[in-house]
């Protein structure tokens, strides 16, 4: 049977309209997809911070202190006299902030019960990885006290 020219033309027009509509939809969806993805805002890099003095009341009462390391929290723990340790305070499980349990001598995350020892190793609960360790330097300040300087390991 001979194909009549009308369906041929109809097919062309359908194809033409279909692709135009597709292009229109894409040209609306593309900017929206880009728009909803938040832009990356560069942060100033931080190499080291001053975490205060060793005779800080926080260490005497709770045995730890959380300081800002750029935009991230860092936990500084007093393990013993003149033994201060610093770790990333962000739990490797699901992003909560860990604390220090003085009486059990461990870092503890209240959210899901993750525990780390004082080398940052994950020892109990759900955390999959150890906490990142930061370097601590004690700079003598005056009689018996020092300034705690935390820097990237």
């Amino acid at each position: 049977m001979e194909a009549s020219p009308v369906p041929e033309r109809r097919r062309f027009i359908n194809w033409f309209l279909g692709t135009s509509l597709g292009a229109l939809v894409m040209s609306v969806l593309y900017p929206i997809a880009r728009y909803v993805s938040p832009p990356h805002i560069p942060e100033a890099g931080t190499a080291q911070v001053d975490a205060g003095a060793t005779d800080d009341a926080d260490f005497r009462e709770k045995g730890f202190k959380i300081v800002r390391f750029g935009a991230d929290p860092v936990i500084v723990v007093r393990a013993a006299e003149n033994d201060y340790r610093a770790f990333s305070a962000t739990c490797t499980h699901l992003d909560c902030i860990v604390g220090y349990q003085k009486e059990r001598n461990r870092l503890w995350c209240n959210c899901h019960g993750g525990a780390y020892d004082l080398t940052g190793r994950n020892i109990a609960g759900p955390p999959p990885r150890p906490l990142a360790v930061l370097k601590v330097n004690l700079v003598p300040k005056s009689e018996g006290t020092s300034t705690i300087v935390v820097s990237k390991a």
Partner: protein, 371 residues
């Protein structure tokens, strides 16, 4: 096929299809005006979509609002586009809502049994103006700050209830961050909620009562076969919408909406400051009224009360125009002439008049295309 069948059994799509297949649109020389409401609806939908997107980055406080929009238009990909489309579409929505109202008014489509369609439509127009007024403050720039100061002060001039209204609108005695929070709440929650309900009522009434045929073209509408809503009228609607989307994108790209300077409550208003075009006729009228008071009422309260009265009258037109007298047509022309003339005066330019002519020309072209 079975999937469609499955959905059909559960959603009753067949009934809907049946309903749509019976819907027709009368054909006569004024049929082009049937597209205006749909066009307004399109711009409203654009406002909803772009408004939701803007909420992702906007921060409603005097300290952060301006900065958040600055960030939006300079750093967020296509942020400038979303904001510009929102601003342009807002203006076009107001424009088409007014055009829709004017056409319905002069064709007397508000006649029984469509009085409530008219009343809900006028209320929707007022809501759109409230959207415009509340949205205007949100960028917290110089223009928005003074517009809000003046606009809320106008409410304060009203006798008796004025002071309460002013404090209610501002969230305090002055235009501050508290006002911004309030306006934001109105703009993104309260007004959209009321509008959604009213819009639903308006559209439902249009569907149940069908399109009104103006008395002067009843013969023509009887002679000519009506157009099926689906697909013929709906496709024409859709073409118009796609065209409108193109116009919006072009306007946003070529004439991006300015952000201006951050509001400073301790800086003088800049030269030639004036409100959005749809408030200019009232703004110009208020500029002409001298200071003074009569019987304890300030002079400036008189035009404000008259405008409020005009708004109330507009809503009641279907109930007042019982005898279908020519008087209402003449009053409409006079009112429209006043608004256009005052707007031209306010801008010290004839451009508003040209826009009126251009709109008439565009409608004629669209009427010819969709015939």
């Amino acid at each position: 096929m079975t999937a469609i069948q499955w959905l059909d059994d559960r959603l009753g799509l067949r009934a809907l299809r049946e309903l749509v297949s019976h819907k027709t649109v009368p054909m006569h020389r004024y049929s082009v005006f049937y597209y205006l409401g749909g066009m307004t609806l399109f711009f409203f939908l654009v406002q909803v979509c772009t408004g939701v997107l803007l909420m992702l980055y906007y921060r409603p406080s005097a300290e952060e609002a301006f900065e958040s929009i600055e960030f939006l238009v300079t750093t967020v990909p296509f942020g400038w586009l979303v904001r510009s489309i929102h601003a342009w579409s807002a203006n076009l929505m107001v424009f088409f809502a007014i055009l829709h109202l004017v056409s319905v008014y002069f064709l007397k489509s508000y006649r029984a049994p469509r009085e409530l369609t008219w009343v809900s439509g006028v209320l929707l127009l007022f809501l759109i103006l409230a959207f415009g007024f509340s949205g205007y403050l949100l960028p917290w720039n110089q223009l928005s700050f003074f517009a809000t100061k003046v606009g809320t002060d106008i409410a304060g001039v009203v006798p008796v209830a004025g002071e309460w209204m002013l404090r209610f609108l501002r969230g305090g005695d002055r235009v501050t961050s508290a006002t911004l929070s309030r306006f934001y709440g109105w703009h993104v929650a309260i007004l959209p909620a009321i509008t959604t309900v009213l819009l639903f009522v308006h559209l439902l009434l249009v569907q149940t009562k069908g399109m009104s045929v103006p008395e002067t073209v009843e013969d023509e509408a009887r002679r000519r076969p009506p157009m099926k809503f689906f697909p013929h009228f709906a496709l024409r609607d859709l073409s118009g919408w796609i065209f409108a989307l193109g116009v919006l994108a072009a306007l946003a790209a070529m004439l991006p909406w300015e952000l201006g300077e951050k509001a400073d409550p301790f800086a003088p208003a800049y030269a030639n400051i004036r409100p959005e075009w749809y408030y200019v006729f009232m703004f110009q009228t208020l500029k002409l009224v001298p200071g003074g008071e009569v019987l304890g009422v300030e002079y400036e309260a008189i035009p404000i009360l008259l405008f409020s009265l005009g708004g109330g009258l507009l809503m009641l037109v279907p109930f007042l125009d019982r005898k279908r007298s020519r008087g209402w047509g003449i009053a409409g022309v006079a009112g429209l002439a006043f608004v256009v003339a005052m707007t031209c005066w306010g801008y010290a330019s004839l451009v508003p008049l040209y826009i009126v002519f251009l709109t008439a020309l565009l409608l004629a072209v669209f009427a010819w295309i969709t015939k």
